[in-house]
């Protein structure tokens, strides 16, 4: 079963702590955490996101999408990274999430990732998606 561990900062404290922290140490802690998942044969993917203030939000509330610069909502780092893990149960995904080197104000949301088995196999779009992966048509694959 594949799960996505979604890293969020839900409190300004987490953002402040991150800024005050030693960057080398953050890299070392995250590196050690990632390595432990690689060594256990469970880590499938992962990435961190750059500062949300550099980003933009596209809002579909109006007829034409409205674009605003900067973060989503008040917090700058609401969603700041993710891991994909391949494990045998939700509990195991949660156990891995608990080991992440994060502090006060941070949360990890644990969500199962849908696989092809969650969709009707005879749907032509589901079949096409499989082909895109097979034929290396996805960017970066």
């Amino acid at each position: 079963m594949k799960f996505m561990l979604i890293m969020r900062a839900v409190d300004q404290a987490a953002v402040d702590a991150f800024e005050a922290a030693d960057f080398e140490k953050i890299i070392a802690d995250m590196g050690a955490y990632n390595e432990s998942m690689v060594n256990a044969g469970v880590m499938a993917d992962g990435a961190g996101l750059s500062d949300a203030s550099e980003g933009a939000v596209v809002d579909f509330s109006e007829d034409d999408p409205v674009v605003t610069d900067g973060p989503y909502g008040e917090l700058r780092e609401l969603f700041n990274g993710f891991w994909m893990v391949e494990v045998s149960s939700q509990e195991e995904a949660i156990e891995w999430a608990k080991r992440a080197p994060l502090g006060t104000g941070s949360q990890i949301e644990v969500r199962r990732v849908n696989g092809p088995e969650d969709f009707p196999q005879d749907n032509e779009w589901i079949q096409k998606e499989q082909e895109w992966i097979t034929e290396g048509k996805l960017a970066g694959s």
């Binding site: 050690a32 690689v38 060594n39 256990a40 044969g41 469970v42 499938a44 391949e86 045998s88 149960s89 509990e91 195991e92 949660i94 156990e95 891995w96 092809p116 088995e117 196999q121 079949q127 499989q130 082909e131 992966i133 097979t134 694959s141």
Partner: protein, 449 residues
């Protein structure tokens, strides 16, 4: 440890949902940490069997205490510390607390609080210790069944119940196997060390054999409560990837990862709506798991990049890759598959490999050439009364239009097979021959294997 039993009794009054949730959390923790905890304990007490006992007792303590106390912040440290305390308690009872152990006990007591914060083992040593554990669990003094059970238990972190479900055997059988295995290792005085350099290739071959068998056990059988079976195969794949991480310079361990990944990629297409097996030729290839195929391709690349003579797992992975990347059975590179089977048979001579080679040759170069190879295999007598020989020969004869001979082979195969579904397939082929006009030619029947 009377106070612990007290706690255990009180636990029954805890809300069942919470208790279940904590038990699932313990099982998940154990899967993640078992190998490291047991490896660290083996280093600490100097005895693998004792370390495994202590670890299991610590888990029992957790099962009774955590539902009340909550899951500790550092579960691995908690389990390790409890197991070490139990070790010291038992030494005290047996008055075997010599100077060395007294020192360890002193360290443990002074470090109680420190343990809770950090890792309960030395991060620089733990990888090697886990590798030692893999080699112990797959030690040649043990039988295959014991190696499988012990590897799943100490390296995979599965409970006896989970192992029993995976192999469709009683829990008591698993427990007996593990007890006997630990005794056999103690009797043989197997040290907690990596094999000497000159033994390593042979011992590694043994480890890969155990992992391969674990995987095969998970995917060959199609009967029984089969949901647990693919789980077993996937666990074998995970453990092989862990082993590949520990021995990154060995090409065959990467080859085995690739072989497992390509095979597992076909799982979603292997069973029909009624649970009947679907043969490779008839599988809906759009159901194959593409992310596993990618994993397989990468591991195969690593194996081939290590540039030694191609070993049997890497060769089988290369064959599986040919199937994985083909859009259909007709688009498959059978010429290459036939030559890979030839290389595999030279590396590890086997009449079953030759039979597979014959099937590939039939696709690549036509049934006549394949038939002469099957005749050669059969004349050696190596396969005895193996139904697949008759089944394959029947298939080839049928394609050559030699229906009456084909029918005889199918009948022979049907009488030899012990598998009901396989017999059905063979009887259907006989019926098709019977209903066919006499002048039929080799293209009439495209059914396979």
């Amino acid at each position: 440890m009377d106070h612990r039993r007290e706690t255990g009794r009180q636990l029954t009054s805890a809300p069942a949902d919470d208790t279940d949730a904590v038990h699932r959390a313990i099982a998940a923790t154990w899967r993640i940490e078992a190998a490291k905890i047991i490896a660290a304990l083996t280093r600490y007490v100097g005895d693998f069997g004792l370390a495994e006992d202590l670890a299991q007792e610590a888990v029992t303590d957790a099962l009774s205490q955590w539902p009340k106390s909550g899951v500790p912040a550092n579960p691995a440290a908690w389990l390790t510390t409890v197991a070490k305390r139990r070790a010291i308690d038992s030494w005290r009872r047996r008055e075997r607390l010599d100077a060395r152990l007294a020192k360890l006990a002193g360290e443990l007591e002074s470090r109680q609080d420190a343990d809770v914060g950090g890792l309960p083992w030395d991060p620089d040593d733990i990888e090697d210790d886990v590798l030692r554990l893999v080699f112990i669990a797959c030690h040649p003094v043990l039988g295959r069944g014991a190696q499988l059970a012990l590897t799943l238990r100490v390296v995979g972190g599965l409970s006896s119940e989970q192992i029993a479900r995976a192999f469709l055997i009683p829990v008591s059988t698993v427990q007996q196997r593990i007890v006997r295995a630990k005794r056999a290792l103690a009797d043989a005085q197997v040290p907690f060390e990596l094999p000497a350099a000159d033994e390593q290739p042979e011992r590694l071959k043994g480890v890969l054999g155990v992992l391969y068998l674990m995987f095969a056990e998970g995917h060959v059988t199609t009967s029984g409560p089969d949901w647990m079976r693919p789980e077993l195969a996937m666990e074998a794949l995970r453990l092989t990837r862990v082993t590949a991480g520990l021995l990154p310079h060995d090409p065959e361990v990467h080859g085995l990862v690739a072989l497992m990944a390509f095979t597992a990629a076909r799982f979603p297409a292997r069973l029909g709506a009624d649970g009947e097996p679907i043969l490779l030729a008839d599988q809906d290839r759009s159901k194959w798991d593409r992310s596993l195929i990618r994993l397989g391709s990468r591991s195969l690349g690593t194996a081939q990049g290590l540039r030694t003579a191609l070993g049997p797992y890497t060769l089988q992975a290369m064959i599986a890759w040919c199937h994985a990347e083909a859009r259909s059975i007709e688009a498959t590179d059978w010429v290459r598959i036939a030559s890979l089977y030839d290389m595999l048979n030279r590396a590890v001579p086997s009449p079953v490999t030759q039979l597979n080679q014959a099937i590939a040759i039939a696709e690549a170069h036509g049934p006549a050439r394949a038939l002469s190879l099957v005749d050669d295999i059969d004349s050696t007598g190596a396969l005895g009364k193996f139904h697949l020989v008759s089944s394959v020969r029947g298939e080839l004869l049928s394609r050559l239009g030699r229906d009456q001979e084909a029918r005889g082979e199918f009948e022979r195969a049907a009488s030899l097979t012990t598998n009901g579904r396989e017999r059905e397939v063979l009887l259907a082929k006989i019926r098709r021959i019977e209903s066919r006009p006499a002048e039929s030619t080799d293209k009439a029947d495209r059914g396979r294997r």
